[in-house]
Amino acid sequence: MGGGVAAFSAASELRARGYDGALTLLSPEGAPYDRPPLSKGYLLGTEDAAKIALAAEGWYAEHEVEVVAERAVALRPAEAAVELGDGTLLRADRVLLATGARPRPLAIPGGEAAYTLRDRADADALRGILVPEARVVVVGAGLIGTEVASAAVSFGAQVTLVDPVDPPLVPAVGEALARRLHAMHAEHGVRSIASVPLGISASGDGSHVVRLADGSALEADAIVAGIGIVPASRLAAEAGIEVDDGVLVDASGATTNPAVFAAGDVSRLRKPDGILARRAEHWEAAVRSGQAAAASMLGQAPPETGAPWFWSDRYGVHVEAVGTLDGRAGGSTVLREVDGVPQAAFLLADDGHLLGAAAVDLPLLIRAARRIMDRGLTPDRAALADPAVPARRLLP
């Protein structure tokens, strides 16, 4: 169940692992497509719907995957079935919940006026409002909010970005890079305000006024909220499956019902020690969890997953990070700088192991860092910091 990269990866992996039984993809929007471009190339208009499809049209027939563009209304694991809106019961010995998430609504008076971005239709709607001279207020300076602000300003909109955290993204990329990235808003003409919206009221002319906690008010032709996601876990909860801000799964994607698995944004990992992990909300985590669930649905061991990785594109720069740069739990940071400008940041544990790395426009450094982490190596701090050391040389 689902039409994103978790569902697609699971279907693909099931076939790759030799499963030759019936395989149905319940994907309300039809053939699965890739979501990262919705806040990047697709939003900017450099990629169209065909370009972001996760597979060529013929792939589904070739791999005998039936795409059913419908939404399930109930899980019936006791009957080995899923119920569709018209009452049809779809037989299923194993069900994968990869229903993703919905954007977190802006829970303030008038907040329903805010646009959000999750689906292709949302991106299409944004294309209509991010126009020259439009006064756009973006609430939330995380990855989505930042990418939308970047796209909006490239269309000639007057953009104000509102987020209480200054700078955002510190746990993901470290303080130095977070500051550099946050400063890019001002460099590109996006006004950044460290506050939170308290309410939105409509003006007579179709525009809105956004009142902020700092006492100021912003006039807006359009408001976009990028303040996180809420997992689409209702059907699991209704079926008696354990849910806590996501469908709880183990590393193999198994839920508390043996016939039901979960992957992607809807899922939340319960570690072997019982501690609930933060939901992984990134693309690669969705791919890997879909693949892991596919393996375990077949009774096979899921593949090893390495350190988590994400990327973001804004203002023409490419940001990547692997692992964590959150130093609150310990470790020390090594910066790679050129002329005082941070290019990359590394977080090292006290024993010298690499906990995470982030970089702007230095993707090979991140590829090196991933391998260092996955192989449990202890990199040389001076080499990490030295811009003259190529990424390849960080590995033995």
Binding site: P36, A53, A56, E284, H318, L364, A368, A391, R392
Partner: protein, 118 residues
């Protein structure tokens, strides 16, 4: 299109790196990346990732694969096969051989996937 192009001597392309042959030099419509693997083999693929605008020559070359520097799709250097998302299309291969001590690229001629290592 079967005319070979001299790309240089094998040691001019450092192992683990790649050199891009531009259309004006190859006569082929797309830039071609000529890869020199750590094990000493030469392979050639269309340089632009099949997913988005990124140069595979600037990717991470390891074993017989290259990982795109933008979104980490990997391609098999021998066959051009895409090995993981987000790319969904295989990369086009070109024949490359070491002849008389020179790396010779045959733009537009598909590589023989079964060929032995150089």
């Amino acid at each position: 299109m079967s005319e070979g192009i001299d790309v240089g001597s094998p040691d001019e392309i450092e192992a683990g790196t790649a050199r891009v042959v531009e259309p004006e030099d190859s006569g082929f419509v797309d830039p071609i990346a000529v890869f020199h693997t750590e094990s000493g083999c030469f392979f050639a693929l269309n340089d632009t990732c099949t997913h988005e605008e990124a140069s595979l020559a600037e990717g991470w070359i390891e074993g017989d694969t290259v990982e795109c520097p933008l979104h980490s799709s990997s391609f098999n250097l021998r066959t051009g096969k895409v090995l993981c998302l987000p790319a969904t299309e295989d990369a086009r291969t070109h024949k490359v051989a070491v002849e008389d001590g020179r790396v010779v690229l045959y733009p537009g001629v598909a590589a023989d996937p079964a060929r032995a290592a150089d």
